[in-house]
Amino acid sequence: MSYFSMSKILLKNLFHGPYTTLYPIKKKESFGRTRGRIEIEIDSCIFCGLCQRRCPTGAIKVDKANTKWSIERFQCIQCNYCSEVCPKKCLTMENQYTSPAHEKVRDERIKCTNIQSPNT
């Protein structure tokens, strides 16, 4: 039975200072594997629709006719399944989270097929 069993830890903490990160002065670095948000390299996409069919939450919509790929950011659960099944490997999981927002908006990416690039 002891009475001041916590004192040693408390003294140590007193000299150590805070264990938490002093946000926003210091920001926490994400790890390389952190699942933040799905990004697409739209030029490689062939609009096969596999990502839409496999996504467990139905966050992705693929519109082949209009060469449009879109994602509902706040519906996505960052499971990475879509990026694993994509045959062209054009979906990647970035390690930065989607910023908080007041309303849900679909993030759309459109592949330009018949507009010439200004350099050519």
Binding site: S2, S5, T34, R35, Y81
Partner: protein, 359 residues
């Protein structure tokens, strides 16, 4: 005889992390009996198995619980793999064991913190959660998620851990062990901790057996029941013994969980030493057909997964029997005759996870 009163306890109560409701029948300050009511966070996840295909359901299974998420995913994958009669690669088995034991560490540390909070020992609560943060960082680094990992998949695991990271994990755990010894010294010896927990909520071995208690609740009452001894994943190659105490009071339950922390660290170290090179996933094709029943040891006790497949990509039925559900009758038994002030502590000693229970 004193005055008889019925007071509602929960579903919202400062000590409860999740909603459970108990009607406490009191005679003066003593609890005569308790009538539980659950159903506040039922999400229909078992039914969802008919809507999501068996691959997608892995991500749903993980979301049954936010604390043993990995082990729910693992239980589901093990059940479906058994239907396919698939023997997953060795490396995947070891990786699963490592993540499972890390989950146990994180869950028990979380519980120790909540327990300390329940008897009003705020600084001990913070210390436990400070250590837990290190484990969450390991999760994020190795899987990408802090709570929901999405690494378990039917046929193996989806991410590998390289040798350098495995060594880093061992180093973190070795350092953590020292700090754990310091806080466990407080839990084991502090006067006020003992005062609040010793002899409180005694569950005899017979009662624990009759009421079907599982996990640390059963082990603290002297029942040697640990599903890891079945030898699933890589547990058949690991040396460990179930931790058993005989007193059956709240102090014994704390003690079982603290000793399991050290045991988990030792299991992870053994896994890192034994882990073979090789594939982490095998290809599984076709749809499952048949049924299987599997059991594994979660931080809260034994979980039962039953899956029935009909040859299509949607399962017919999935049934999960969670440890908290099995421990509720034992909780009601310990509540009988306790003081009103001890009710929060007794509820916490079963390590309640209500979102698992109701799914």
């Amino acid at each position: 005889m004193g005055k008889r009163t019925v007071i509602p306890f929960g579903p919202q109560h400062p000590v409860l992390p999740e909603p459970i409701h108990l009607d406490l029948v009191l005679v003066d300050e003593t609890v005569e009996s308790a009538i539980p009511r659950i159903g506040y966070i039922h999400r229909g996840l078992e039914k969802l198995v008919e809507k999501k295909d068996f691959q997608q359901y892995t991500y749903v299974a993980e979301r049954i619980c936010g604390i043993c998420s990995f082990m729910h995913g693992m239980g589901y994958c093990m059940a479906v793999e058994s239907i396919f009669e698939a023997d997953i690669p060795e490396r995947a088995k070891f990786l699963r064991t490592i993540w499972a034991e890390l989950s146990r560490l994180h869950s028990h540390l979380l519980w120790l913190g909540l327990m300390a909070d329940a008897f009003g020992f705020e600084s001990l609560f913070m210390q436990s959660w400070k250590l837990r943060e290190l484990i969450l960082d390991i999760f994020e680094e190795t899987t990408g998620g802090r709570v929901i990992f999405s690494v378990c998949d039917i046929g193996g695991v989806r991410r590998d851990i390289d040798g350098a990271t495995l060594n880093k994990i061992v180093n973190i755990l070795t350092d953590m062990e020292k700090e754990l010894r310091e806080i466990s010294h407080v839990f084991f010896n502090d006067h006020s901790v003992k005062l609040r927990t010793q002899g409180v909520g005694v569950l005899s071995k017979q009662a624990a057996f009759d009421l079907g208690a599982v996990g640390p609740m059963a082990r603290a009452s002297g029942i040697k029941l640990d599903m890891r001894c079945r030898g699933y994943a890589a547990y058949d190659r690991i040396k460990f013994k179930p931790i058993v105490e005989t007193e059956g009071d709240s102090f014994a339950r704390i003690s079982v969980r603290i000793k399991e922390l050290f045991q988990a660290i030792s299991i992870i170290k053994q896994c890192v030493a034994l882990i073979p090179e090789g594939d982490i996933k095998m290809k599984i094709t076709g749809n499952p057909s048949g049924e299987h029943f599997t059991r594994l040891e979660q931080p809260r006790g034994e979980v039962v997964y039953y899956a029935k497949a009909n040859g299509t990509k949607y399962l017919d039925r999935l049934r999960v029997r969670t440890p908290t559900f099995a421990n509720v009758p034992a909780l009601l038994e310990t509540l009988k005759g306790c003081a009103l002030a001890d009710v929060p502590i007794l509820i916490l000693t079963i390590d309640p996870c209500i979102s698992c229970t109701e799914r």
